[in-house]
């Protein structure tokens, strides 16, 4: 699954259940099929317009990384 970063943020103040993950980059990916998906980033930080692809799914969370 591939797409382009539509928007992004880095979360420093997480909800209780994600306390161990912070800080983490959260993004909305514009997928190739025209849909959008809220996901996380693995590895290098991304910016709006960057091309990304799905790296893995863990606990129902999609993790993308930069292509």
């Amino acid at each position: 699954m591939k797409g382009v970063i539509y928007t992004e943020t880095t979360v420093f103040a997480p909800p209780e259940q994600f306390a161990a993950d912070a800080p983490y980059q959260l993004v909305i990916v514009a997928l190739e099929d025209g849909k959008r998906l809220t996901a996380r980033i693995l590895g290098d930080r991304v910016a709006i317009g960057d091309a990304v692809e799905l790296a893995e799914s863990r606990n129902n969370i999609a993790f993308f990384h930069k292509i």
């Binding site: 992004e8 979360v11 959260l26 996380r40």
Partner: protein, 386 residues
């Protein structure tokens, strides 16, 4: 349809009150409101309550009769409305609708939230429930994160800057410092606002509204009966509630709140006014970016120009269109379920000419804009002097 007037207002101070429970706050605001209109609780024909998450924050359900009974409002319909941070805006919209339709004459509308008894991570988690918990919430979205993503996209599309965001916080703190009931009566500098602790990049702690306890109430009746209760009735000239997708990633363009835009058009039409007629407004600045987007969606400025508009001082207390003279959610505080009705109170205060040190010169026609979630519910109200 009958014209509807606001004849009484009442608010608690907003803040962190360890020794106050939810009900005592709501009762204080409700009784202050009834006293303002010199109406006895036994005359109230219905009670509409806005509350977002009382059951999660304090473990109490069935809130409307629970609060009404303690005020002496008994044996009448008492109903709680939940629409995230637009809960009491929604309660007000439905109360006005029922009075306009002729169901009741005297209706009390309250809003309350008691948030500070929970830890910040727990509050963050409860608030996240106003988003889509099967999508964005599961991925780790918080409300600051959702509005940070809106800000990022707005910056990308329109060149909005960190300084422009910070200008909202600086202005609203400057106003709130003059409001005796505000949570954080503290002036902040541009430098402080730009260098706050990061919460969700690019938003810092100074871009975020406060976690507060507090309550507000208004009393409404048909305009034709308003003179029985007050010499300064304020007329609900136009009001609309609209909705949109709950999930941010389901909205076509996240730099605009479509629900706000549509509610504004409906409310303006009902009032027979245009955006340029609105002299001042209380806007839903849950995050600094939200006030900037709202000024655009309400038609005060063109799309993308909300940032320069605030930075140039057009919306400050002595500017051409003062926004959030109360201090807004940023400085006055944001007990989420109380906010919509509190905004109505603050607009009424200006129209009556009772805003003290914060009183503005042109105050005949004002607007309140209340937002739920990342824009899934919007309520826009145009209020005017009778």
């Amino acid at each position: 349809m009958r014209e509807v007037a606001v004849i009484g207002i009442g608010k608690t101070a907003f803040g962190a009150f360890a020794d106050r429970d939810l009900r005592s706050l709501a009762v204080e605001a409700g009784l202050a409101c009834l006293a303002d209109a010199n109406v006895s609780p036994s005359k109230v024909e219905a009670f509409y309550l806005g509350n977002f998450a009382g059951p999660s924050f304090v473990g109490q359900n069935h809130l409307a009769p629970y609060i009404a009974g303690a005020m002496g409002v008994e044996h009448v319909p008492c109903t709680r409305f939940e629409a995230a941070c637009a809960s009491s805006g929604s309660a007000f919209f439905h109360a006005v609708s029922s009075v306009a339709a002729g169901m009741y004459d005297l209706v009390l509308v309250g809003g309350v939230e008691k948030m500070t008894s929970q830890s910040t991570p727990k509050v963050t988690e409860i608030l996240a429930g106003a988003g889509d918990m099967s999508g964005e919430g599961r991925a780790g979205a918080t409300f600051p994160a959702l509005f940070a993503m809106i800000a990022r996209r707005h910056m990308y599309q329109y060149g909005t800057t960190r300084e422009q965001l910070a200008a909202v916080a600086v202005k609203n703190h400057s106003n709130g410092a003059k409001n005796p009931q505000a949570h954080m009566r503290k002036i902040i500098t541009m430098e402080q606002a730009l260098n706050g602790k990061p919460i969700a990049d690019p938003l810092t702690v100074y871009d975020c509204s406060l976690v507060s306890d507090g309550a507000a109430a208004v009393l409404i009746c048909p305009l034709e009966r308003a003179s029985e209760f007050t010499s300064k009735p304020v007329v609900v000239r136009g009001i609309a509630q609209t909705s949109d997708h709950v999930a941010l990633d389901e909205k076509d363009d996240i730099t605009t709140f479509r629900a706000v835009k549509e509610a504004a058009q409906k409310a303006y039409k009902m009032a027979g006014v245009t955006a340029s007629d609105i002299q001042f407004a209380e806007l839903h600045d849950c995050f600094t970016i939200a006030e900037i987007v709202a000024t655009e969606d309400l038609g005060f400025v063109e799309k993308g120009s909300g940032g320069p508009y605030v930075l140039e001082g057009k919306t400050c207390l002595r500017g051409e269109r003062p926004i959030n003279t109360s201090g807004g959610l940023k400085s006055k505080g944001h007990p989420v379920g109380a906010t919509g009705v509190a905004q109505i109170c603050d607009v009424v205060l200006q129209i009556r000419g009772d805003a003290g040190e914060r009183q503005i010169a042109r105050h005949d026609l004002g607007l309140a804009q209340n937002l739920g979630g990342s824009g899934a519910t919007a309520v826009v109200t145009v209020l005017g002097a009778a």
